[in-house]
Symmetry: C2
Subunit: 346 residues, 2 copies
DNA sequence: CTGAAAGCGCTTACAG
DNA sequence: CTGAAAGCGCTTACAG
């Protein structure tokens, strides 16, 4: 059995990193001058500046960010908190927004630290904060009663929520689920039908409540009476979804609105099992396009959000806040309504 | 429109962090002594040690990890590199292993920095390495020709691959896909059937090649001739998968082995569309249980891997390597074979 | 415009 | 067993 051993000292001579002192020495200037040439802060002669910059470029000198941070009392890190126990339907959201965050951070010479928390424990986040390894944190998709929010507030460390909260005291950036859902449902009602059922996920997630509001808005706008008997929430298992679909069928709904793609997937399966045609007999839409339904037939009409852009923007907002810039308390991003085969929109 | 502004200086008096100097001063000892009490390194009187520890506990002192790192030329960070552009079927893998990595790191007082790369760019990784912000890196699920591997090797920074590579010079930790796939296919062949088709994903991913080897192993072990005409690889779109299924049907296969759940999902749909019964007419298995098929009927026989444990182990191996401990070049983790409705195993 | 010096919050030979 | 001092690689008043 082959084994490995890290023997860094052997090649230490080879790639010893060059420091600011080395640069200063080689150029017969002070470290101060080198530092100024790099940061652009403080007065410095244009020619010396160029000389330093040229040498740095030439010799591939990279300042040690850790040391820089220590001196400035910054870390140039932000933390991204994601649920360790999310379900499949939410994964594309996290994956995509994550990429947006990483790229935006990278572009600003920041790095992102990953912190996973579970519903029951914020231990990892606490450790991270205690260790002072970050300048700020991004929280994603919060729960209605979110312990992480409480933790962050208590520490008075800059943070922004990538999602929505009714707490106006916290910075928020989110997709405009509410308007999107409202427009989508509005399109359904606009075709003249009124019996539109809703099947939703756990009310524990703020996003699900927001979607529900959008659904309600549509009825209000259309002047159609909303029947609460057609609304099924907290459907977090196949069984619950199936039973909801059956009840909706008995109610003779003309359309079923699904809050997410997992729900929609089950709904389509139940309808297919009963040989109910979509969209001819019952139209179906999903509130979120996660590619989970990509291979499903019929293709489902749904809302398309740019999660990567959301991540990037959230990151930018956090960075601006850290720098002390004045920013809007809440930012909402647009969406696209994608009409596919599962509806009979004109 | 409400706006926010970060005004840290206002409450700076409130939560100024206490430093090692404060502790030393309060206790009338030197910083050296405090440092030793905490680290456990160097000789120190048991009573002074207790005294220091008590004070620290009492006043909630947390050493500044950044400063500690600077002095020791360590960062107490590792980087996790994940593809920014992975597809749905791989998300559960990344999500779960991520959690394992974070928790193991946390338990060792390390933090994990997130780096996303795309097939075409390793820029983020390069930046991270240049900035010296990590002591080591975890690479996940490498491609056959992986630029990240080349980059890491050139930098001679400790790294381990969470996945498999034929390059024996790199540290690897992986699920034992090969043995798993072999056993699963072996069970099929053991029922007396011989015409077992295979539909696989992109050969660009090492993991898909490994699974293919497991498939081949099974035939060899069973003494059954493997028909290459029943093997379809690089099926990375619905169209290709559908066409593969149709060819396999024409070949009168008795079973179809799917390399992952997305493939399997499409296969089941095609079979259902043609009213071909699973498992009565064609048995079906998937090589990876990603919960993507959870709501599908019939439930699919597949392999179950503990991705979270894989992440944790990978992290542990990297940390041991960083510490200079001797470790095995390659570690393989077990799996569980879950027999469900889609097969006719005895 | 430039530099010497102190400092960020730790660790670690070295000396006692 | 304990401490003074130098050092990790930067930044930033302060002085010139």
């Amino acid at each position: 059995m082959e084994t490995f051993r890290n023997e860094r000292w052997e090649n230490e001579s080879g790639n010893k990193k060059i420091t600011i002192s080395d640069v200063a020495e080689a150029l017969h200037v002070s470290k101060t001058t080198v530092s100024r040439a790099i940061s652009g802060k403080g007065r410095i002669g244009e020619d010396t500046r160029q000389k330093v910059l040229a040498y740095i470029e030439e010799n591939d000198y990279k300042p040690n960010v850790i040391a820089k941070g220590l001196a400035q009392k910054k870390t140039y890190n932000i933390a991204l908190v994601i649920p360790g126990d999310c379900n499949l339907v939410d994964m594309p959201f996290f994956q995509n927004s994550m990429q947006g965050i990483c790229e935006e951070a990278s572009a600003n010479d920041y790095d992102v630290m990953l912190v996973t928390t579970t519903g029951s424990s914020s231990a990892n986040l606490e450790r991270m904060l205690a260790n002072n390894k970050v300048d700020g944190v991004i929280l994603s998709r919060s729960l209605v009663k979110d312990r992480n929010v409480a933790l962050l507030k208590a520490q008075s460390i800059p943070f922004v929520l990538m999602g929505t909260s009714r707490d106006e005291k916290i910075l928020q950036v989110d997709n405009d689920h509410r308007t999107g859902c409202s427009e989508l449902v509005g399109r359904m009602l606009g075709t003249g039908i009124a019996k539109v059922g809703l099947i939703g996920g756990s009310k524990n997630y703020v996003v699900n409540r927001t979607r529900r509001q959008g659904y309600a808005d549509a009825f209000k706008n259309a002047g159609v009476q909303l029947e609460t008997s057609l609304i099924f929430e907290d459907c977090d298992s196949s069984d619950k979804i199936e039973s909801a679909v059956e009840k909706l069928i008995r109610e003779n709904v003309q359309a079923i609105v699904c809050m997410d793609d997992v729900i929609c997937s089950v709904v389509l399966q139940v309808l297919a099992g009963k040989d109910i045609l979509v969209p001819q007999e019952i139209q179906t839409v999903s509130f979120y396009d996660s590619t989970l339904l990509k291979n499903r037939k019929p293709a489902v009409t749904s809302l398309l959000f740019d999660d990567k852009a959301l991540g990037a923007l959230t990151c930018r907002v956090l960075l601006q806040y850290i720098r002390g810039e004045r920013i809007e308390a809440k930012t909402l991003l647009g969406y696209e309504l994608v009409v596919r085969e599962s509806t009979l929109f004109p």
